[in-house]
Amino acid sequence: MKTKHKILSVLSVGLLVAGCASLPSVSELNSLTDAIVKASFRSEGIAHVDRVLSPDETNRACSEADVSGKPLDEKTAQAIEAMNLKSIRWPANGQFLGDWKEGEKIAQSGRGLTWTDTANSPNGGNCYNCHQIDAKEISYGTIGPSLHNYGKLRGVTDPKSEAAKPIVEYTWGKIWNSKAYNACSNMPRAGHMGILNEEQVRHIVALLLDPQSPVNK
């Protein structure tokens, strides 16, 4: 109830302002939005309310840029990318590639981390929701670019070779933390946010880069 009163008072402040000017200021609207978010969302199952109450710097900057309709300035974008790049955890055992067959299963699954999921149910990668991957799967999304022939197009014939190393590392990094390469990418930060574990990321890298994977056939 207390929050409700607070919100009403914030709103009426906004309205008083609106009485003389056309609209409350941007910062007033921002804090009103914060108050409304706080009053409207609650924790449910594993989806704790902190998920909206404390956005990290990356999300805060990108949301604000989206609202304004202008992309981040170059300097901020670079700073965000550098920060995210630093957070990438590289494979502890030095192995970047797992089993592409497991990778395909993870790419197919869109499950995990909603308030109807449980903490111990395995998370999927959501990959096919946005990307074409194995051409045999006709039900794929188009929010992200097609990943069909991902390794082949990049000339990866032996992922263990020195020549393939930059692509292998980039692929790992992009999956682990997409924002390291594109500050306001639409892609989730699968490793960084704890969506996929190291083992799962290895399998996805294999799906994309293993010459035996149907992606490269």
Binding site: S22, V37, T116
Partner: protein, 266 residues
């Protein structure tokens, strides 16, 4: 029986043929959707909603026929395409479902807080959905034209815009991640661009809708609730200001779009 076995084997071969071309897939799905248009089970909920509107119910044993949905007490036709809007009696911006909650409390004596806490599809919540289905049907083919004259309506539009672009949750998704660009899909589902009028009967202009996948009738509140669930956000309260502000943003953007609600959806 031999023939049947032979044919079954042939069927197996057909299945093994290379994947259908993309164009054929979307044409096939359009054909499927067209087949479902005739005989939308939403009609069952529409009939129930009309009955509920006129039925004496609740502790006060009253009908909803004096409920003001924004165009005066009892006026149903055209109300849907102007919601959410500001209501002077509650001093709040309300969408169709939160307004129905107000009417059920004030006219019929129901406990609004209790209904708001009831899960979707249960008890009085399912009645609100049926009522919303009928009320939306009474504005079928009319064009969205949400009022933006009251300062609160403008403020809610601005708040809704911020919510639309709010990146959060474990996956950094905002509404715009999926609905911020033209011509995109999730899997095979086309995603309407919701920062402008996406066209007649698309996006905001298609709910309430009957969901084929689970055989449920969903109002806009449940639609937004499930978007947030899939966005990996925490739970938005029923009729909360966040859901209503988002509704104002989507509804104002949809200005001019003809409503097809109640629709039938995958």
């Amino acid at each position: 029986m031999k023939l049947l076995t032979a044919l079954a084997a042939l069927g197996g071969c057909l299945l093994a043929l290379p994947a259908l071309a993309q164009k054929t897939t979307s044409q096939g799905i359009d054909e499927y959707r067209a087949m479902l248009q005739d005989g939308n089970p939403a009609e069952l909920f529409e009939a129930k909603g009309e009955d509920l509107w006129k039925q004496k119910r609740g502790p006060k044993n009253a009908t909803l026929e004096k409920c003001d949905l924004g165009k005066g007490p009892g006026v149903v036709k055209g109300a849907f395409v102007e919601l959410p809007r500001f209501f002077a009696d509650t001093q709040k911006v309300q969408d169709l479902e939160s307004r129905l909650l107000t009417c059920m409390a004030s006219l019929q004596g129901f406990n609004a807080d209790e209904i708001a806490k009831t899960p979707f599809g249960k008890g009085e919540q399912s009645n609100i959905t049926a009522l919303a289905t009928w009320i939306s049907a009474e504005s079928k083919d009319m064009r969205f034209n949400l009022p933006q004259s009251h300062p609160s309506e403008k403020v809610f539009y601005e708040v809704g815009k911020r919510l639309f672009f709010q990146r959060a949750g474990s996956h950094d998704f905002s509404c715009a991640s999926c609905h911020g660009e033209e011509g995109k899909r999730i899997r095979l589902q086309d995603l309407p661009l919701l920062t402008k009028n996406p066209g007649d009967g698309v996006g905001f202009a298609a709910w309430p809708a009957y969901r084929v996948s689970n055989g449920q009738m969903w109002g806009m509140q449940q639609r937004l609730n499930d978007c947030y669930r899939q966005q990996r956000f925490p739970y938005p309260g029923f009729a909360s200001d966040a859901t209503i502000a988002l509704g104002v943003f989507l509804g104002v953007n949809a200005k001019g779009a003809a409503s097809v609600a109640p629709a039938i959806k995958r």
